[in-house]
């Protein structure tokens, strides 16, 4: 499951960045991948649809959001947490 989540998120981010998934690594930031605020909102929507979860994210306060978007790895970890939490 963990691997699927990671691969799926990389696929979503790669599509948004118009890159091949193999060019996206876990330590990269969205900024480094060229994803702007609109791209971020679109990526979060795609993640919510893919995993049937609700991501708590407000574009007005991205830094204060409980959802860590500081790197690809952080997003994977946050999504895994949300899947666990929202499974119940």
């Amino acid at each position: 499951m963990a691997l699927d989540v990671k691969d799926k998120i990389i696929e979503i981010i790669a599509e948004q960045a118009v890159l091949d998934p193999s060019d996206v690594s876990l330590d990269q930031t969205l900024e480094a991948l060229g994803i702007d605020s609109l791209g971020l909102v679109e990526s979060i929507f795609a993640i919510e649809e893919a995993f049937d979860i609700t991501v708590p994210f407000n574009a007005n306060e991205p830094d204060q959001s409980e959802f860590d978007i500081s790197s690809v790895a952080a997003i994977v970890k946050a999504v895994q947490g949300l899947i666990e939490d929202q499974k119940a």
Partner: protein, 403 residues
């Protein structure tokens, strides 16, 4: 060029069902934002808004009218009745031919669309009411005002998202100024507080779940409102000759496009619109006493707007008062500039500056006098009203105290 004055004003919004109650609420710093109440609201993440809970359409319109009037048209007609009633104008003969209606809206009959899509898609019905199209069209409100009052000149609707009303009023102003029209009914209306309307906004993730706090460091987004405001703009000599009460003079207008991003605001585009209105009104910057801000309460708008005001006004930016009444009535999208013009009229006519409520923490990037939380008494001769829309379309009006 002709001079243009305002001789009538009407409104319905979350703060009040007419101008006196709305201005009293603004002066008290009252908040009209609360829990939304409509079908399927439990499926929304955003559950607050400036909704008009006291709205009684059935009590004001007959069965035939109800079949044709979407909520945004109902709001418009009630506001127009107040405004035209106050002005004392009767549209007949030459005046009817030389008068028009220009109104702003963004969603038009969105509630009608929402209800009818739900019926055919969710409920599987294959038949809709015959008046769905004339009810939902964006120009329905404008046309009903024209029909109701026999206004036969230039009538149309402007849709520039959150700047719709300011664009509409700017057009109305210029039509009188250049001599095309004698009187114009203008302003705007919005009724987006339905499931589909709020759901669409939710997607963008710029809405606040708890409050609209413009310019406050802890602001976390916009809150929608609904309603309308309608004004009578009239050629000054025409108004003076008949002894009409003048609420304020409209002296300038400018519009610009950022030509950059579909949602992110631009300091340059906004500053050009503010400077443009000042130039158009032949003002010195230091004559400006009050600005009604666009002030949506989003992180991006408020800091960009403050930077634009500082750019356009230079050192004088520190002397002016700037407030966002959206903190009280919410963001009326296509109708917002019209309701906000009331705050400018109150500043010029009554010497009361409406506050920015819910202001909790200063933001160094919004370091202007935002009239936090409490209204202020002040003598103001000139006021500006800002509107900066999604799509990068900016429209700023300049008003002066009645001559």
């Amino acid at each position: 060029m002709k001079r243009v004055v305002i001789t009538g004003a009407g409104t319905v919004n979350a703060l009040g069902l007419d101008v006196p109650s709305t201005l009293a609420a603004m002066a008290e710093g009252k908040c009209g934002i609360g829990d939304l109440n409509f079908r399927d609201v439990d499926r929304l993440a955003i559950k607050i808004g400036g909704q008009i809970h006291a709205w009684d359409a059935e009590g004001q319109f007959n069965r035939q009218q109800m079949a044709l009037y979407d909520r945004f048209t109902q709001f418009t007609l009630v506001a127009a009745q107040q405004a035209i009633g106050q002005s004392g104008l009767e549209f007949a003969g030459e005046l009817a031919l030389r008068s028009g209606v220009i109104l702003g809206t963004s969603g038009g009959g969105l509630t009608t669309q929402d209800d009818n899509y739900r019926m055919v898609y969710e409920e599987g019905k294959n038949r809709v009411h015959p008046f769905v199209v004339p009810k939902l069209m964006n120009n329905a409100a404008c046309s009903h005002v024209s029909m109701e009052y026999n206004i036969k000149g230039p009538c149309y609707t402007v849709a520039t998202a959150c700047a719709s009303s300011n664009h509409a009023m700017g057009q109305a102003f210029n039509m009188i100024r250049c001599g095309m029209s004698t009187a114009m009914i203008t302003g705007g209306s919005e009724s987006m507080l339905c499931f589909g309307g709020v759901k669409a906004w939710e997607g963008l993730r710029v809405m606040s779940k708890d409050a609209c706090r413009p310019f406050s460091l802890n602001r976390n987004g916009m809150v929608q409102g609904e309603g309308a405001a309608v004004f009578v703009f009239e050629e000054m000599e025409h108004a003076q000759k008949r002894g009409a009460e003048i609420l304020a003079e409209v002296i300038g207008f400018a519009m610009t496009s950022d030509a950059s991003d579909i949602v992110m605001p631009s300091k340059q585009g906004a500053a050009r619109a503010i400077s443009g209105a000042i130039t158009d009104a032949r003002l010195n910057k230091d004559e400006i006493g009050y600005i009604n801000a666009h002030g949506t309460g989003t992180a991006a708008n408020d800091k960009t707007e403050c930077a634009a005001v500082a750019d356009a006004l230079g050192a004088h930016a520190d002397n002016i008062m700037i407030s966002s009444t959206k903190s009280m009535h919410g963001h009326l999208i296509g109708g917002t500039g019209a309701v906000e013009l009331l705050a400018c009229i109150m500043a010029l006519k009554d010497g009361i500056i409406a506050p920015t409520i819910n202001y909790e923490e200063p933001d160094p990037e919004c370091a202007l006098d935002v009239v936090p939380n409490e209204a202020r008494d002040a003598k103001v001769d000139v006021a500006l009203s800002n509107a900066f829309a999604f799509g990068g379309l900016n429209a700023v009006l300049a008003l002066r105290k009645a001559p």
